[in-house]
Symmetry: C2
Subunit: 345 residues, 2 copies
DNA sequence: AACGTTTTCTTAACCGGTAAAGTCCCTATC
DNA sequence: GATAGGGACTTTACCGGTTAAGAAAACGTT
């Protein structure tokens, strides 16, 4: 890409106008000692008159801070658009970046290996000051890679998967358990779960928690399937669960996100089943979507925006040298709405 | 932000290892003439052995290309998460950037003025090689500002609002007309439209087109309201439209996005109205959402992903010096599904 | 008054590349 | 055999900042 900015005001021009050296201007703009109040003022005045602000690229190259945070999302581009979760998450991240005058460098990658390469080149090229890593899986190569590079990162995921990295996470196991218990208390004995991508760490965690809850509650039936998080997959999974003979099919289904729950709801309607009388549905993530359907969707509600914000704040802490830590954010809480009720019989 | 990359391989190390000057390495990596095949190979080999890749920051500062595209979205951070449109659009942009090894610099801004300032600092600081501008309004200050700066941009919006900037746009007026005609042909005589943000150019355009269509078709009733694009607002608007006495309320409603249409659908259900028998609903943008509801939503369907991709491609053309142009992308086409039908009476 | 300290600012060397101008050598030409 | 013309590199001067080291003036001390 080539194309030249028209007028260029540099530190030199400011220095000349204020009658000082560029070193002095630099000192002033970095709030470093060694300048009298008078010259400091003169410099700021000159800068304001010329409309100058330090060039971040040059500043970065010269070896100081980098005001950019990296985020690579591993997903085929076509699917990204469909996940309300990420949009909310990103907006939470942005809300913190904005107040620190930082920007987000966003990139879609096809797989973890590609992400490792990307993070490495970002960091070595000083394109980012740190990164937010998401979608951890078992034996995630990013743990070792970022450690080796010295790249400051915050890992969004359960410590079981994020190794020694500073992490921000929700206690999904507890949430799944709560969800299943709630449905059991309502009287459901045959419960299914439509999970997300099997490769992801938190999916595995939820799967294990679901199994455990089903066993400890001695449920009569417990099914689990994994999908790709898309509405289509969620709908398909629901259809297959609900086509079993009525005495043998789940009376309640838990979904791993809200898009799939919406799809499930529509499949139930299309099959002539009444929600919640014939089957109860429970969503996850709880974006605005859950309040827009009819009936409204009960959900494991979760402040995704706040989750993103916390991740960003934690990253800043890491960058400024804070040691590794584990930052749980509030566990998703059950928000009952219109899609859950005791089973009909 | 401070934190140092551990090992640093620079062009100098590569040059030393290949036994050439750093100028030669630069020539090799930029595929410029003036080097023998033999040395070229030696240089690439050395680079590979050392795991070196040119530092983009330095490269940028030295005045060549910038591999970053800017995108500022003007919206309160909390709302961004709710718009499937942007997520899809961004994913389309990414799909083109990814194949050119470029990244997207994303930033939320509170208002257009803030965006103007941001774009200016991005450009002057060579943080971006060009930008994608969205959400044009009447007398948009960005037209003049980007022209003055010489910032290469692609404007996503109708030429009526984007001044002399190269634009990528959909013919919303024609689409609105088609939507209204379609409903009229089905037999609807009282049609309403729940529009987006009033300040936006394309909203104004759609409003005018709707008025015009209503007049030319001599509809018995035509209502229009503007909202903030949120599901809540869409639901509210729908409720207020449908509470009129039945002989005097719309039998069809057109929405400016899909979230509002989904909300409208649920409001209708909640009011005991059957869709499409009692009222027909027609969405816009047509994300996956429209196929997940029951009944499925008819929509003015539109390849938003492709729209984003086209915007990105056009930006690259602008950056490489192509003169101003106007690039219409296909007009949204009506995709009838389950939410539209002739009125009951 | 001579001398060590500060304070205040300047100089100059980077950061890691790019690119124009310069050097050297090899070959074709008259 | 002298000269012009290229090809293949190297030199060197930036890009726009930061920062360590140096210098000049102001200040306090004995």
């Amino acid at each position: 890409m080539t194309a030249q900015p028209t007028s260029r005001v540099t530190i030199k021009d400011v220095a000349a106008r204020a009658g000082v050296s560029k070193g002095a201007v630099s000192l002033a703009f970095n709030h470093k000692p060694g300048l009298s109040e008078a010259t400091r003022d003169r410099i700021f005045l000159a800068a304001r008159e010329l409309g100058w602000a330090p060039n971040l690229t040059a500043r970065t190259l010269a070896g100081s801070r980098v005001d950019v945070v990296g985020l690579a999302i591993c997903r085929p581009a076509r699917l990204l658009g469909l996940e309300p979760f990420y949009m909310e998450f990103v907006s939470g991240v942005e809300s913190v970046l904005i107040e620190r005058n930082c920007s987000l460098l966003l990139r879609l990658v096809r797989n973890v290996e590609e992400e490792v390469g990307l993070q490495e080149s970002w960091w070595r090229g000083r394109q980012v000051g740190g990164s937010i890593l998401v979608d951890f899986r078992a034996d995630d190569p990013r743990v070792a890679a970022t450690g080796r590079l010295g790249l400051p990162v915050v890992a969004v995921g359960h410590p079981a998967f994020t190794g020694g990295l500073t992490s921000v996470w929700t206690d999904d196991a507890t949430a799944v358990t709560e969800a299943v218990r709630y449905l059991a208390v309502l009287g459901h004995r045959r419960i299914a779960r439509v999970g997300g991508a099997a490769a992801l760490g938190h999916t595995a965690m939820r799967t294990a928690a679901f199994d455990e809850a089903a066993r400890s509650l001695e449920l009569a039936g417990a099914w689990q399937v994994t999908t790709d998080y898309s509405g289509e997959a969620g709908g398909r999974a629901t259809r297959s669960l609900l086509t079993a003979p009525s005495a043998d099919r789940p009376t309640a289904i838990v979904y791993d996100n809200d898009i799939m729950a919406v799809a499930g709801l529509s499949v139930a309607a299309e099959m002539g089943l009444n929600v919640p009388r014939d089957v109860s549905l429970l969503a996850w993530d709880d974006s605005q979507l859950c309040r827009l359907t009819h009936p409204t969707l009960s959900a494991m509600s979760h402040d995704v925006h706040g989750f993103g914000a916390e991740a960003a704040r934690t990253l800043f802490a890491v960058i400024t040298g804070e040691g590794p830590g584990s930052h749980p954010v509030p566990t998703p809480v059950l928000t009952p709405r219109g899609s859950t009720a005791p089973p009909a019989v």
